[in-house]
Amino acid sequence: MAASEQEILAGLAEIVNEETGIPTGDVAPDKSFTDDLDIDSLSMMTIVVNAEEKFGVRIPDDDVKGLSTVGDAVSYIQKASA
């Protein structure tokens, strides 16, 4: 069964926290990875690869550019794993 939006958000927040130290509570759907969370491109790629593994999805590099907010990433992962 595919993960719920809430589960994906929680899982993603954990990955972001592990990579950057940002508290999981700050990883909210409306937050921009670059502007709000100050995550650089190298960390972003690490987060993407870890998310692929955790949720069993594939996120091509070209699609990563479109994921500007945490919410974007949650919806993408939910669709891809549906």
């Binding site: 130290g21 491109s41 190298l42 790629m45 690490t46």
Partner: protein, 419 residues
Amino acid sequence: MAGSRPTDSQRVVVTGLGATTPLGGDVASTWSAMLSGTSGVEVLTQDWVDTLPVHIAAPVAVEPLEILPVPQIRRMDRSGQFALIAAREAWADAGTPDVDPERTGVVIASGIGGVTTLLAAYDTLKERGARRVLPMTVPMLMPNGPAAIVGLELTARAGVHTPVSACSSGAEAIAYAVDMIRSGRADVVAAGGTEAAIHPLPLAGFAAMQALSTRNDEPERASRPYDKGRDGFVLGEGAGVLVLESLEHARARGARIYGEVAGTGITADAHHMAQPDPVGSGAARAMSMAVAGAGATSGDIVHINAHATSTPVGDVAEVQAIRRALGDATDGACVSATKSMTGHLLGAAGAVESIATILALYHRTAPPTTNLEDPDDDVDLDVVRGEPRALPDGELLALNNSFGFGGHNVALAFRTVEK
């Protein structure tokens, strides 16, 4: 002392010390363990150990995870973590100097670089594919990574450098930093070395060279420089960093001065890739250069922190080199082989042992050499055994030797500075 002294702007002094070693997580604990003759060598517990002929090493006493936050740990090779920890301590110890970033330099050496990152990433590539190789892999494995980490930490823009000369790397970093200050490129430089190579591949490689001790049942007695029973070195890990600046600069800001890097000598053997020159002429020349650079004579040397790794060939070759360089004055210098306690920190050894040398002068106490129970007949040195030894009053000069595979020789002469 004989010879002329350079001006205060050309004299380079040590104003900060930092270290993380098999003996302690900082300089104070390392020094105190050294004086009490503590061993940092232990039996490894990793599951790969049984596949190797060598089961012992000297891991750092305090894991970086106890000090640095996990996200920072994940973005740094272990060697970078050590360097950052040691550099922070050294910089704070120097009183957190207020220096123009364009006048601040960093020289952090490594013998092998980010070898554990490299090998773990290769395992990931083979087992899980290219997609799983982390984007930080290259910055983590590059040998200049630790120097860059420290450069970022200190906002150093005068230059960030990484000498690589195997086991003399850390000493070469200090010599390079002295040149940076004397040539006017920088006012303050954080210099030292770091190494994190306790992994089955480097261990297997050194073991294949017959370079490592296999005294697996007696880890604390395995590193025994100058002893007849020595059978190789013990691989250690850690980092040492010294803050260097001109005497003029240090006095102007009222810094505490540990001592002076009075002279540096760098030579190469061009003899053999891994064997020392049997007569030690290159090593001797490095020592003579360091003494001459200090405006001194060999008779001024009261203490030597020897390279003395506990290999059958290397220890004796160094003894001959010391005799060749100092002649009869050899008898006036007491010798400490601190690798008997720390193991061999490769690219960090020269830095950690420079710290030991400068502290020996500062506290006028030479640390002991442990495990020297039955001295080799070819070792006619006054080795400090068992207990630490008090050094005399007055102005003192000491040498620290570091030699590396590839035929690299570095000698550093340290001198007391009036408080």
